[in-house]
Each structure stands twice: as structure tokens, then as C-alpha cells.
């Protein structure tokens, strides 16, 4: 009889032992991926999200097909005008690929990341200096304004999302065109205060400097002037643009002398666009913000470089007609 009790209590004991693990046992820890919580903790974490914004900004040029902004206009048109390529702007509706893809680019890429950075920068536990924080916020706000400026010019008044969303919402309302422009303007006015003045060097090529902010702000001021009929915005636009022109926001100038590979036939204007001659480090002082492509390098984006893939014959196979290129 004693044996029986030992047996049973042993077994039940084992079962109960396991009951003891419970909620804690099921607590989930991500092992192989970052989360906003564990990555947005210091300057370098925030910088990683800024890299993503640069990447997404480049993807604007490759959002769907290369046709959206040119094909069917006086820039170019498809040789196959039978409906396989979008060319007819009278047919635009909310399901048209072009319409969907720019909207998606803006909200599901640019604004998602920019708002995440801006919202999480409020976290008092982030380990950074006030200066570092403002530099991060300035770049994020530049991209947010850049996106809203694109949106407002393509779609008119659009919903303004100013924060990271914690739960899905279904009640978005269009803001007015003016409200969107004002929002972009405020972002840029903050950005131009904190964006750095341009400097040369490997890691700064492609970055956003004060002049880029001022340039975009100029555009937004002009739009504001037109929307509000308030002429003072034009004065502000002139003021902002002047800072770029008079070099108070960095050493920019129109290139007047040939530079780069002088063996190449051409003129100074063509010099501005050769691969390897677009960044400041190559001596090009005319460019304010350069989208970066690097052939054959991870993140170099040659697949996204639509211009090169479609029209630059240097990458083409010699002797093969253009129709034989792999498409997208």
C-alpha cells in the first residue's frame, strides 16, 4: 500500500511540476530580428532607420513600372499602344497601378519609417545628446516633408499622419491642400535649423544637408503662396533659395568648367551626369541631393536604376535589340 502511494504521488508530482511553468514559459523573445523597441535606443539605432528612408526615397523611381511619370506624355510614349502599358491619363482611377504605387510608396514606406523615428525620438530613455536627437529629427522631418510635398502635388489634400500608428485605423480623412503644405513647411522649418552644412567626404555623399532642406522649403513656400494667396510666402521662398545661392548654406555653385574625365567627349552639362561624377567628392558642386547607385554592390540598387537599365546602352548587350532586354 505504501508503494502505491509513492508511485502515484511521484507521478502526480511530476505533472504538477510541469504545471508550474506557465505564462513565463510562453513569453516571446525575438531571437533573430530587431524590433523598434530594441533598436531605437541610441543614435546608431536611429541612424539605421534613416538609412532606410534614403533607400525608400530612391525606390520612388522604381515604384512600379518606369512609365508612370513619363510614358504617355510629351517625354515618351510606348511603341506598343494597345493597353499593355499605361499611357492614357484619361483612364486614371483609384485602381490604376501608378496611382496605387505612389500612394503606397508614400504611406507604407516613407511616412511609416519617418513617423516611427519622430515618434520614438520622444522616448526619454534613448541614450543620446540633444544635438544628436535634433540631427536625427531634422533628417526624418526632411523626408516626411519631401513625401507630403510629393503627395500634395500628385493627389491634392491627403490624410496627414504625424505619428507612428499603434492600432489600425479606418477613419482617415483628407486634410486640405493647405494643411498638408503647412505641415510640410513646419517640418522643413525645423529641419533647416538642424540639418548640417554640406561637407565633402565619402560618408556624406548622398546625405541630406541644409541646402536640400532650403531647396525643398522654397518649393513648399511657393506652393503655400499659391494656395493662400499670401505673397509673404514668396518672400520666404526667395529668402530660403538665396541661402543656397549665396553659399551661406554651403559651397554650391553652377559648374562652368568641364570636370571629371576630360577625355570624354561632351560639355560641362554632360559631365554632371556621368556615373562617378554626380557626387560632391568628384568635384561636382552643383548637385544638392544625389540619389546613390552603386553597380554590383549590395544595396547599390542597380536593379532600381530604371534610367540606366532602359536607356543607357552602356549596360546593354552589344548587337541585341532593346526588346531583347530582360524586363523588370
Amino acid at each position: 500500500m505504501k508503494n502505491i502511494r509513492t508511485y502515484i504521488s511521484l507521478c502526480l508530482g511530476m505533472m504538477l511540476l510541469c504545471v508550474a511553468c506557465g505564462e513565463d514559459y510562453l513569453k516571446e523573445q525575438t531571437l533573430d530580428r530587431f524590433s523598434p523597441e530594441n533598436s531605437l535606443v541610441n543614435k546608431s539605432g536611429f541612424d539605421a532607420y534613416l538609412v532606410t528612408l534614403h533607400r525608400f526615397a530612391r525606390e520612388e523611381n522604381f515604384e512600379d513600372r518606369p512609365d508612370p511619370m513619363g510614358n504617355g506624355t510629351d517625354v515618351a510614349t510606348s511603341g506598343v499602344a494597345d493597353g499593355r502599358f499605361f499611357t492614357d491619363y484619361t483612364q486614371l482611377n483609384s485602381q490604376t497601378d501608378v496611382v496605387v504605387s505612389y500612394w503606397n510608396w508614400a504611406y507604407a514606406k516613407m511616412l511609416k519609417v519617418a513617423n516611427l523615428v519622430i515618434t520614438r525620438a520622444e522616448n526619454p530613455n534613448v541614450n543620446w545628446t540633444e544635438e544628436e536627437k535634433n540631427a536625427v529629427l531634422a533628417e526624418a522631418k526632411f523626408f516626411r516633408a519631401y513625401t507630403y510635398n510629393t503627395l500634395v502635388n500628385l493627389y491634392g489634400g491627403v490624410p496627414i499622419i504625424d505619428r507612428e500608428q499603434s492600432v489600425p485605423r479606418f477613419d482617415f480623412q483628407r486634410a486640405t491642400r493647405q494643411e498638408v503644405l503647412e505641415f510640410a513647411m513646419q517640418d522643413l522649418e525645423f529641419a533647416v535649423q538642424h540639418l548640417p552644412v554640406v561637407r565633402s567626404g565619402l560618408t556624406s555623399d548622398g546625405r541630406i544637408f541644409k541646402a536640400a532642406g532650403l531647396h525643398l522649403l522654397t518649393e513648399v513656400y511657393i506652393s503655400m503662396g499659391r494656395v493662400t494667396n499670401d505673397a509673404s510666402y514668396y518672400d520666404k521662398a526667395i529668402e530660403a533659395a538665396t541661402k543656397v545661392i549665396d553659399k551661406s548654406a554651403g559651397d554650391y555653385q553652377l559648374m562652368t568648367q568641364r570636370f571629371g574625365d576630360l577625355q570624354r567627349p561632351g560639355d560641362v552639362f554632360s559631365d554632371l551626369f556621368w556615373t562617378g561624377q554626380q557626387n560632391r567628392s568628384s568635384g561636382n558642386l552643383e548637385s544638392i541631393w544625389v540619389c546613390q547607385y552603386e553597380f554590383g554592390t549590395l544595396g547599390g540598387g542597380e536593379q532600381e536604376n530604371v534610367t540606366v537599365r532602359w536607356w543607357d546602352l552602356s549596360l546593354k548587350m552589344p548587337g541585341v535589340p532593346i526588346t531583347a532586354m530582360p524586363c523588370w
Partner: protein, 1099 residues
């Protein structure tokens, strides 16, 4: 005599008795006795004369639903008093046999043997009389009787067993044991095999050799007495089931060339839809009772030897499988609550049987080909198509590309599907040893399968081994293991057959030196399907170690057992790729490659306590309690590099490349489970089952991790009621009802969290990649279980001694809190949100009908029909609105198609006002809303890809040693968009299209549009997926025993078997079953038709 296993007791006893020597009869149940006129007359006489003992025993059989076995001589002339009511069967028997000098022995639950009381037993006489036929026959050829074999037959308790039949295999020479179990038998000089058989015990065969004394221990055959199904944490007799369980008898499919276990389930089970994708060694997909989830998993849970199994079914050697039981309804599956909503497939591997070690060798070899391939435009039609397209579109004739032109000039054409074909042998070898000694049961096997599919480069081989071992250490402790190991090799790159549908017949796949061209028709759309196959290196090997160890402890309280079980699965894979440098055709790339390793480890620990108790007469209950924990860890890493300047080391030379990247993956998920099941049975008439399971899973949001899943089941065996019992033609009538709630946790780890992925960007000319982070999913801390409430009503029936039997099931499955990738406004920052939203319903009918159509003089024709009808309906999505973008509509099935309504082809001279952009040769659509225009509002749900119903018929014809079986199956209903039948939306001016007729002004078809039809509205081009298929045909022949005994073998069977032999369908895609329509990189393709020649040898 092969023992046939049937649904119910009386029948199985009847069949078993056919194996007894003449001179034996038994107290037949009334229903049996009345089957012959003689017996009926005899019974009538007995009734006139008074109560005979035989009659009394027969009444007891009826009353207690037991089987009583007795020799006729013992009962002859004996009488008994009237049968009254007794507290137990034993007391009843004691009373009835009282005064007859007979006693009884209980073999097992429900089975009793009547035998003489020891001291009065006229043992020797009986044995002599029984062997009289032995002495009579040999007397004619007495000179051949060379020696006498003697011995004793005992049971596991070392008691002699009287009446055991001993027959010299392949002859009529035989005898039986006496009261002490002794026997003596004269045999000819030649060696032979003795067969020892006795009802309720496993038969044994012993080679005589030089022995003159052969002693045998017979072990009771528990399982052969009634069909047993595996139900999760235990087994159940089929008669006791309350739910809906489909079982596969592996012996029926053992001779099909099924490289994958999944194939043996295909087409032959009601409610189970298996889809074969036609690739070598691929795991097909299984859906049970319709789709219940939209974004979660629809795959059933697979339980291998009691342990949830995460490897592929292609890891398992089909020959190692004893049985497959599929738990379809809510209550049977509820035992695996959290993952059971898609049904559970219980796979049980073989265990050793019989005292004598048994060695089996099975092998087959065969050839295969595509079952069918799409027919593409041949050279003339291809050129004509370009002409016709030019006329239709009014544009210049598309010229042949330079390479095409060169081939045209030279008169060279190719058939692309022919060009991507290879010799496709398939072979399999399997060797197993199994057996059982006093305390050890063992099964050991090794197998090798090698398959080449007809698709160039599509190859598969598997090496597998298994050890199943049980060691009975003491009478209260058994320790055992089921361990299997497999290595699957998928190395090589299959030809990209999607491109075979695009290439011009004037393509040139190879350069003159034999190396493959990348662009065989000078067009970027028409890539050489063989380029990667021939040019690149690939190694893809997967290792699977599955080991499950358990200990069964009989606790000192009768009926109480404890089992602790530890399951371990280790899955490893190596996927290596290398693309060497290529500098032809204007391409100039250096080598690039990758090496990926992944390891998955699953751990499971379960404690199971089980208590069986008989409470009073006829009342039985059992209680099962479970507590278990589980974890799954995945670790992987991948290395890649490009610009590798030297190809000599292939993927092992990544170190010299540029852009070296490292990717690491690691996930972990955990689960805890507790479960209680209470069962109650009353005399095989009423059965009740209650189960409740509580499961916790780590991937769900905080606070949503646990779910509780209750269920109940009840069944009522009407045919065992006194009212119906006398109906002789009625063998079984049983009603089953079950109701239960199951969960689906088919989400990936971290699904409820915000996941962040790396992205890269390069700052500055010649810069290094900068790493960015991008959040890719919206977190949902409220993500929880998807639950399905299932109701099942079933009826099992058997008529005319099981000549007709089967079952019908009606079910409904209501799924709520659907795991749904909800499309949300992307203004939120994400396009999708993984949430528990919406409801879906499945309801259906399943029918299984087994009949023995003919059974005369060694010729038998049996057939089995299955019919499955499932209706799927989305009840609710987010809110009440249809989700048109995802093609989900309230009140319509999943996979519905929303499109314009096809209304023929526009012809010359018709009124084009509703579609002014159309011209003759365009598709005409119906103006549904009658506004005089074709607008997006004229779209509606035009159909679904899901079938109306599916069916299968298996036929088995046996004659002497021959068995012919063939399986037809098919589906009716369902349409799927098949874009390849549109004659040329997709670049008809650049690539080839399917060889189907098309509209031309000269030949204005009314059902096909013109080539060059631009399909401005994006119409889906739907085709019916109805088909009838002759899926499996097997002809087998078992060599006669006297022939194979001469070569000292036990049994030899040869067979020829074919798979996917013929399909009748109007579908123009690869195959109507998988319905694949993707053009550029399809995952399913044409099925494989194979013929194999096989042999099974038993020693």
C-alpha cells in the same frame, strides 16, 4: 489463411473459423446459424426438443455480445437449463455449463472458449480422432512417411493449449494438440513448414529442418479480433468510436509506386483532398473537410507514433507504416485541441509480430513520363499566328529574331517540352526485420528510393532507416522507442518548365559546343528552361532524425497506467547554390553563390495518466489525463557572395568573392498543453466521450496565449439493441454524433510582434553598404486562436455479412476569429494587419461504401466508393463588406472569382454600342446592370476554384493468387482562371502560345477570341477543372506456397503497377487536380505517369 479484419465481432469470428480444421464448429450466434437451411432446420428441431446447451450458449452470445467457441463434439447431446439474467458473463457461463463437465476460458474481453473439465478430458482419443484424416491420407502413400514430429504448444502463461491446429504448409497433412497441448505428426521426408494456428492467437510458421521436436509458444492476437484505430493518446476499437475517422489500410496501397506517403491517401478517402504537384519527392498538400482558414494554415496536424510531426511526409518510408488514421471531426481531433481544426493525421509505424523473426525485402523498378504536357503552337502555326496577329492589330508583322530566323532558314525546329525531358527511372529497395520474443518487440528497416522525374534535372533520392523497439522490463514497466532517420537529396535544378510554354519552335537551346544558351530566341522573355539546370550547381539535402522514447508504468492500482514520453525531432537542411561566370550573348557576369544551413529542433515531453475501470456489469469507463510541454527552435545561417572570379570551387569558394553577406535566422516557439478525456461505454451499445484541452502557444499576443477546447461525442450501436439484433441481414447500424471546438495556431513565431528587416543603401561612390532597418509588420498584441466549432453526424452500416458496409457523415464546421491578413488602409503605414477577424463555414457530406460485388469459387470482386461534397462559405469579414481586392465575398466560397460575365465573341456587323472599344474578335461581356455600357459594375462572382464534389472508386479483383486493383477518381465543378488560354495577351508577338484555335476574320469562332486580343478588362479566362482519372492500376501475383516453400521462402509476390495513367479533362493547363496556371515560375506542373515492376519477398 489470411485473416480478414472486419468491422465487427461476429463477422470476424466467422471468418477466423474458416481457418480451423474440420470437426470444429462453434456455438453460432443466431444470425449466423440461420444462414443455411440445414442450420435453421437443426435449430428448429432443438427448439422442439427443449433447450440444448448449444442453444443456451447462443443465447448468451446474443445477450452479452460475446463470442463463445466450442467444439461440436463437446456440445453434442448436452442440455442446459433456461438462461436467466446474471451479474456477469462469467457467472452466466458457469451456470449454463454446470453439470455438462465442461468449463470455459476467457481469451480476452468478449471471447470465451468452452473446453472439457481437465480430469474428465478424453485427451488422447480426441487428438487421435482429429488426426484421423491425417492417417487416412498418408496410408495411400505410406512409403513417403519418413518421420514423426512431436512437441508441445503452450501459451504465454506456459499452459498447454488444446486443439491447436498444426498443418504442414501447402498440404492437407495436419493434426491438433491434445488437452495438455501435446501433438505428434507424421510428415514426409522433405523439409517443410508447420503452421500452428488457434483462434484468438497469432498463427506461427516454423521451418522443420532437422528438428524432431518443435515446441511453440503462441501469443494472443489482440488486434486481429477487431479493427482498432489510433485516436490520439491511445487506440480505440472501431466499434467504440464516436467521431469520424478515416483509415488507410497500408496493405492495399503497398504495391503502388508511391515515393511519398501522401500519394497513398490520394483519391481514396472521403473528405480528404490530396493534391500532387508532380515534382520528384515533393510533399503534396492535404486539406481535410475544406478550407477553414484564410491566412492561417490549412494543413492538418500530423502525429507520428503519438508525437506531433514537423518533418515532411516524404521523409517517411511508406513500407514502415502500419496504419494511417485521419481524425476528421471536431471531437476526435479535439484531443489535439490547439492544432486540430484542420484535422489530424495519425501515422503509426510497424511493430514486430510473431515469434519467428520475419525478413521482408520489397523492391520496385520502373519508368515514368509526363502524364500530359501542354500542346504549344508548332512551327507553321507559330508563323501563322504572327501573320494573323499583324492583320488583327494592324501593326507590322513581328519579325523573327535573328536566331529564330537562322533556324527558320536552316529548317530547324524544336519541340520544347521534348527538349526538357529526361529518362526517368524510379527504383525503391526496402529490407526489414521484425519479430517478437518474450519481452522484446522489434522492427528494423532500411530503405532507398531513387526517382528521376521526366523533367530534366528534377531528381530525388531518399535513404531511410527505422528502429521500433519495445522492451518489457518487468510486468509493470515497458520502455520503448520509435526512431527514424532519413536523408533526402533534392540536389540539382529542375528545368524551368514555365518557359517551355513561351519558347518559339525556332529556338535554339544550345551553342554548337553543346553549352546552353541563355536566351534561345534572342528575347528576354524567352529564357532557356535548361540554362540554370545545366549551368548552375545546386546541392539540397535534408536530414531528419525523429526519435521518440517512452516508458509505460503499470501502477499498482488495477487499470491505472502512467506514460512518460519524450519526442525529439531534428531537421537539418543544406542548400548550396552556385552560378558560375558567364560571358556569352553579351552577358558578362562573374560567379555568385550561397551556402545556407538550417537546423530545426523540436522537443516534446508528455505525461499521460490513464485509468480504465469496469464499473458494474457492462459499464466501462476510462480517463486520460495529459500534461505536456513543447518547444521548437529554428536556427539558420546563410552566406553569399558575388563577383567570384574563379569558378573552380563552386559554392565552396565564396571566400574569394565580393559583397559577402551573412544572414542569420533564429526563431523559437513554445507550447504547453493539458488535457482530460473521459470515456464511457455500455456493452457496445452506448459510448460517450468528453474531452477538454487547454493549450498555450507563445506566438500569440500577451493575454491571448491560452485557449480552451472542449468537445463531446456519443454513439449508439442500434444493431446491438434487442429489437434489431435478430435481423439477420443487418450486421451493423451505428449512429455517431460529435460536437467540439478546435483551435488553429497556424501562425509563425513573432507573428504578433512588429518585425524589423534589414535593408541596404550605399553612400558615396565605391562606398560600402550601410544597413538600414525597416519595420515590416504591424504588431497585434491581441492576436489569438482561430477556433472552429464542428458538428458531425455519422452513420455506420453493414449488411449481409459485410458484403455491403460503409458510412455516411454530415458535418458543419464554423470557424470564427479567422486568422486573417486583413487588408487595411495603407495610410496606417502597412497594407496588412494580422488579426482575428471574420467567420467561415464549411459543411459537407462524406460517403464511403465498400461492397463485395462477386464472391464465388476463389473469385472475388470488391469495390470501395468514396464521395466528398464540401460547401465553403465566407460568413463574415472585417465589417460586412466584401473584400474585392482579395477576392473575398460574404456568402461566397473562398477562392471565388469576380469578373465580367462572358457572353461570346464580338462578330462583324454587331452593335458595339455597349463596348465601343471592342472590335470583332474581342470577348463580349454581359451588361449586367443594363446601363448600356460595360463598366466595373458589371462584374460579379462567376465561380470558385473549389469543386462541387470529388469521388473515387477502388476496385479489387482477386482470383487464385492474382489481385487486380484499379482506382478511378475525379472531381466535378469548379473553375479556375487559366491565363495561358488567352491567345496572346501576354506578348503574343514575342513568345509562343498554347495551340488552341483562335478567331480570325476568315474563321470567326464564337468561343475563342482573336490572337492579339489585348484583354483590356483583364478578364480571367476561366476553365472547368472537372476530370476523371485512372490513377492507380496494380496487378499482383502471389506465388503458390508449395512452390516457394521449396526455395525456403515464406511468401513471394510480384506485381506491376501504374500511376496517373489516363486523365479525361477539358482543362488546358498542366493538370486539373493542382490547377496550376502560373506562367513564369509555376510550383506545380504536369503529373508524372509511371509504370513499375515490383517484388515482395518474405522469409
Amino acid at each position: 489463411m489470411k485473416k480478414h479484419i472486419t468491422y465487427f465481432l461476429a463477422q470476424s469470428i466467422g471468418m477466423l473459423l474458416l481457418g480451423l480444421p474440420p470437426g470444429y464448429a462453434f456455438a453460432q450466434s443466431q444470425s449466423m446459424a440461420l444462414n443455411t437451411p440445414e442450420a435453421a432446420a437443426h435449430l428448429h428441431n432443438l427448439q422442439q426438443a427443449g433447450q440444448s446447451l448449444k442453444r443456451a450458449l447462443s443465447q448468451l452470445e446474443q445477450k452479452y455480445k460475446i463470442s463463445i467457441i466450442a467444439r461440436d463434439q463437446l456440445l453434442h447431446g448436452k442440455t442446459a437449463g433456461p438462461v436467466s439474467t446474471y451479474p456477469s458473463v462469467e457467472e452466466a457461463l458457469t451456470d449454463v455449463l454446470k453439470g455438462s463437465k465442461l468449463t470455459f476460458k476467457k481469451i480476452k474481453e468478449g471471447f470465451y472458449v468452452v473446453r472439457p473439465v481437465e480430469e474428465n478430458m478424453p485427451g488422447r482419443d480426441k487428438a487421435d480422432s482429429l488426426s484421423s484424416r491425417n492417417t487416412a491420407a498418408p496410408s495411400l502413400k505410406a512409403q513417403r512417411i519418413a518421420r514423426t514430429i512431436t512437441g508441445k504448444v503452450i501459451d504465454e502463461q506456459k499452459q498447454g493449449i488444446p486443439g491447436v491446429s498444426i498443418v504442414l504448409k501447402g498440404t492437407t497433412t495436419g493434426t491438433a494438440t491434445d488437452a495438455e497441448g501435446n501433438y505428434s505428426l507424421n510428415i514426409p521426408e522433405e523439409n517443410g513448414t508447420l503452421i500452428f494456428s488457434y483462434i484468438g492467437y497469432l498463427s506461427q510458421e516454423v521451418a522443420i529442418g532437422n528438428q524432431n521436436e518443435i515446441n511453440i509458444t503462441l501469443s494472443p492476437d489482440i488486434k486481429s479480433l477487431e479493427e482498432v484505430v489510433v485516436v490520439g493518446y491511445g487506440t480505440s476499437r472501431k466499434i467504440d468510436l464516436t467521431g469520424s475517422v478515416a483509415s488507410v489500410k497500408m496493405e492495399n496501397v503497398a504495391m503502388q509506386p508511391n515515393v511519398n506517403l501522401v500519394q497513398s491517401l490520394r483519391g481514396s478517402l472521403a473528405g480528404v483532398q490530396v493534391t500532387d504537384n508532380g515534382r520528384a519527392g515533393a510533399d503534396g498538400s492535404i486539406v481535410i473537410r475544406g478550407f477553414s482558414s484564410i491566412s492561417g494554415s490549412n494543413a492538418p496536424l500530423i502525429v507520428l507514433d503519438g508525437i506531433p510531426y514537423y518533418g515532411g511526409l516524404s521523409d517517411i518510408n511508406s513500407n514502415d507504416i502500419e496504419s494511417i488514421d485521419i481524425l476528421k471531426d471536431g471531437s476526435s481531433a479535439a484531443i489535439y485541441g490547439s492544432r486540430a481544426s484542420n484535422g489530424v493525421i495519425m501515422i503509426t509505424t510497424k511493430k514486430g509480430k510473431g515469434d519467428r523473426p520475419k525478413l521482408t525485402y520489397s523492391a520496385y523498378y520502373g519508368r515514368s513520363d509526363f502524364a500530359s504536357v501542354p500542346k504549344m503552337m508548332g512551327p507553321e502555326r507559330y508563323l501563322q499566328l504572327k501573320q494573323d496577329a499583324s492583320v488583327f492589330t494592324g501593326r507590322d508583322l513581328t519579325q523573327l529574331n535573328p536566331l529564330e530566323q537562322a533556324n527558320f532558314d536552316a529548317g530547324r525546329t524544336i519541340d520544347v517540352w521534348d527538349a526538357i525531358k529526361q529518362e526517368a527511372p524510379v527504383q525503391s529497395h526496402e529490407l526489414s526485420i521484425s519479430g517478437k520474443t518474450n519481452r522484446i518487440t522489434y522492427y528494423l528497416s532500411g530503405s532507398y528510393v531513387d526517382q528521376k522525374s521526366p523533367l530534366y534535372g528534377d531528381e530525388f533520392s531518399r535513404l531511410s532507416s527505422r528502429l521500433n523497439l519495445d522492451v518489457n522490463i518487468t510486468d509493470w514497466l515497458t520502455i520503448g522507442t520509435n526512431t527514424g532517420f532519413s536523408v533526402k537529396d533534392y540536389s540539382g535544378i529542375a528545368a524551368e518548365y514555365g518557359y517551355a510554354n513561351l519558347l518559339s519552335p525556332y529556338s535554339e537551346l544550345y551553342f554548337e559546343d553543346g553549352s546552353p544558351r541563355r536566351l534561345p530566341m534572342n528575347d528576354g522573355l524567352g529564357v532557356n528552361p535548361l540554362f540554370n539546370t545545366l549551368h548552375n550547381d545546386n546541392r539540397d539535402v535534408r536530414y531528419n532524425l525523429f526519435s521518440n522514447i517512452y516508458a509505460d508504468v503499470k501502477l499498482p492500482l488495477k487499470g491505472l497506467t502512467y506514460r512518460i514520453r519524450n519526442g525529439n525531432t531534428l531537421l537539418q537542411s543544406e542548400v548550396f547554390n552556385y552560378a558560375p561566370s558567364y560571358n556569352k550573348e553579351g552577358f558578362n557576369t562573374l560567379g555568385s553563390g550561397s551556402k545556407s544551413h538550417s537546423k530545426t529542433y523540436n522537443f516534446l515531453l508528455e505525461n499521460i495518466l490513464r485509468y480504465d475501470k469496469e464499473i458494474g456489469s457492462g459499464h466501462n469507463m476510462d480517463l486520460t489525463l495529459l500534461y505536456g510541454v513543447e518547444s521548437s527552435t529554428v536556427n539558420g545561417s546563410s552566406l553569399s557572395a558575388n563577383n567570384i572570379f574563379n569558378d573552380a570551387l563552386s559554392y565552396n569558394g565564396l571566400g574569394i568573392g565580393e559583397n559577402q553577406t551573412i544572414t542569420t535566422t533564429a526563431t523559437e516557439s513554445k507550447a504547453v498543453s493539458s488535457m482530460a478525456r473521459l470515456g464511457y461505454r455500455y456493452r457496445e451499445k452506448y459510448m460517450l466521450n468528453f474531452t477538454v484541452r487547454r493549450d498555450g502557444f507563445s506566438a500569440f499576443g500577451d493575454g491571448k496565449k491560452f485557449g480552451v477546447f472542449p468537445s463531446m461525442g456519443a454513439s449508439w450501436v442500434l444493431s446491438n439493441e434487442n429489437l434489431l439484433a435478430p435481423i439477420t441481414w443487418l450486421d451493423l447500424l451505428k449512429l455517431r454524433f460529435s460536437y467540439g471546438k478546435n483551435g488553429n495556431r497556424g501562425v509563425d513565431p513573432y507573428a504578433s510582434l512588429s518585425n524589423v528587416s534589414p535593408v541596404y543603401y550605399v553612400f558615396g561612390d565605391g562606398g560600402v553598404p550601410a544597413t538600414g532597418l525597416n519595420p515590416t509588420s504591424f504588431p497585434n498584441p491581441l492576436l489569438g486562436w482561430e477556433t472552429t466549432l464542428s458538428t458531425n453526424l455519422g452513420l455506420d452500416f453493414g449488411f449481409f455479412k459485410s458484403r455491403i458496409n460503409g458510412s455516411v457523415d454530415f458535418y458543419t464546421r464554423n470557424t470564427s476569429d479567422l486568422l486573417l491578413q486583413l487588408t487595411i488602409p495603407n495610410v496606417n503605414g502597412y497594407n496588412q494587419f494580422f488579426a482575428n477577424v471574420g467567420k467561415m463555414n464549411n459543411k459537407g457530406i462524406e460517403l464511403t461504401l465498400n461492397t463485395i460485388n462477386l464472391d464465388t469459387k476463389g473469385f472475388q470482386w470488391a469495390s470501395s466508393v468514396v464521395y466528398t461534397l464540401n460547401r465553403n462559405e465566407i460568413i463574415e469579414l472585417n465589417g460586412k463588406e466584401d473584400d474585392i481586392a482579395s477576392r473575398r465575398f460574404i456568402g461566397e466560397p473562398l477562392f471565388s472569382h469576380y469578373d465580367y460575365l462572358y457572353d461570346g465573341i464580338w462578330q462583324k456587323g454587331e452593335d458595339f454600342s455597349i463596348d465601343p472599344a471592342a472590335k470583332p474578335g474581342y470577348l463580349k461581356f454581359k451588361d449586367l446592370n443594363g446601363d448600356g455600357k460595360i463598366t466595373p459594375e458589371d462584374r460579379q462572382v462567376v465561380g470558385t476554384s473549389q469543386p462541387d464534389f470529388t469521388w473515387g472508386i477502388t476496385n479489387n479483383v482477386t482470383y487464385k493468387g492474382f489481385t487486380l486493383s484499379f482506382l478511378f477518381n475525379g472531381r466535378v465543378g469548379g473553375i479556375t482562371p487559366n491565363p495561358v488560354i488567352n491567345p496572346g495577351t501576354n506578348f503574343y508577338d514575342r513568345v509562343n502560345v498554347l495551340d488552341l484555335p483562335y478567331w480570325t476574320p476568315e474563321n470567326p469562332l464564337t468561343d475563342r477570341p482573336s490572337v492579339g486580343y489585348p484583354n483590356p478588362l483583364g478578364y480571367g479566362f476561366y476553365e472547368k477543372r472537372d476530370y476523371v482519372r485512372l490513377q492507380d492500376v496494380t496487378l499482383a501475383y502471389s506465388l503458390p506456397a508449395n512452390l516457394i516453400n521449396k526455395i525456403r521462402l515464406d511468401n513471394v509476390r510480384v506485381y506491376v503497377s501504374g500511376k496517373n495513367l489516363k486523365t479525361w479533362t477539358d482543362w488546358n493547363g498542366y493538370d486539373p487536380e493542382n490547377g496550376e496556371t502560373t506562367i513564369y515560375s509555376p510550383t506545380s506542373g504536369p503529373l508524372i505517369r509511371s509504370w513499375v515492376l515490383g517484388i515482395n519477398i518474405g522469409l
